[in-house]
Amino acid sequence: MSERVLMKGNEALAEAAILAGCRHFFGYPITPQTELAAYMSKRLPKVGGVFLQAESEIAAINMVQGAAAAGVRAMTSSSSPGISLKTEGISYMCGSNLPCVIVNIQRGGPGLGGIQPSQADYCQAVKAPGHGDLHILVSAPATVQEMVDLAGKAFDLADKYRMPAMILADGMLGQMMEPVVLPGEPAGPLPKKEWAASGHNNGRPKNIINSLYLDPYMLEESIKKRYERYKIIEENESLHENYLADDAEIVLVSYGATSRVAKAAINMARGKGIRAGLLRPLTLYPFPKKAVAEAAKTAKAFISVEMSMGQMVDDIRLACDCSVPVEFFGRTGGVIPNVDEILGFIEKTDRRYK
């Protein structure tokens, strides 16, 4: 096993991206994400890569679009207000079938909001990361190690399905330090992208990267083709962790940093004789619907635990076809729920559905 090293979430994610073959980073500073870009600015030039601090978030995402069109692994990172600015570029990349990785180290919103951890961009990431009929892959790490593991996976899946992938983390994961084991060897040569507009000295017919279709029938056709891919993704790419949920009557659904606090509360609830468990989505798109439906068979109630006003609640309801009540506990605006208040809500819910 490789050495365990102590790393900040933001820095570990940056290193993992480099190990996954990313050599092109475009970004613009924003708390609590800045260490990621700062790490890239130090490391990328040493490995023959390009770090560019753009004049704005909008410029950065469009630089990513250009780099991705040329066939390289490209990445940008930001925090909530900055991600809102990137949505136009994300939509264009979806429309052009371009892979890339976008990192959102979420902070409180709306507007400039605050700089403390939040998960209030769930709906933006999962439902409408840009205009038009589209999806992007969304994964949600809960540890610094998962920041590393899911970063590599995001690049692979983005390339595989030719679409943007987002890592939806938060200020807590970005700022905290934990031991991580980095992938030992840098990734080998990446699969060639035959579709890339990469220059060819007239050696092949030209590749066109485009999201403009003036003929509505052609546009509809291209969207339908993309939705066939989304169907395959929803079938095959959802990931979740099941923590004591098999026999659980009260099933918490929580992702990212919040799920860590939820786990501690579940342990305490179990200590008090409450059959509580956790379903933790590691992918938010695709949402682990089957796992939720499975848990609904034994659950008396779900509790969605989030750092938002309950943006994930409806997805849980849909996944279990409203067969089980879905309660919500959350804090928002940058407030991190503590173990005791989650435990209190578990106890209350347990009494209510006894």
Binding site: T31, P32, M177, E178, R260, K263, A264, V339
Partner: protein
Amino acid sequence: MKYCYRRDAEGGAPYGKDENYNMKEINARFAGFGGQGILFLSKLVAYCGIIDGREVSTMPSYGPEMRGGTVNSSVRVSDTQIYSPIVDSPELLVVMNLPSYLKFIDTAAPGGTVVIDSSLVSEKTSRTDIDAHYIPATALANENGLQGLANIIMLGKILALTGFTTFETVEKAIKKAVPPSKSHLIEKNIEAVNLGYRM
């Protein structure tokens, strides 16, 4: 001597350790001015945990400012998986300035240990349910040619009070954490640990 221990409901018996195993867990908050080395102290404690093969996490409070202001950090070292990295009621609290003392003294867990830099905090706590230690760390550092190492004196004191690791591990952690450009400071750091340990 009091130890930091993990609350029963969250923990469990250390795995793979023999019955003589007595390294204590850390659920701590360190707080002070920016520049006092609060984050470096957190990092050193975490390094110790990693060297000992344990689970660790540190979580700094963060603000928009580049430097100055107050800083605090949650630090956990455990033999089992760490869930929340945030320590709301620390079993070990180290405060190195008055604002931090005022902000955090009431959060210390009953039965917990508090270490206060008495060079910078003149107040004394009226709480009787905590084990408070007043160490003039900043003055000690200045008197002993260890300027800027009050945080490391505190590390020595933490080691003495908690027994969360061994002296050898602390030495290794310092060698690991001090950047090569400052390697001449390693000896001074170890001296500071010794000084704090004896206080």
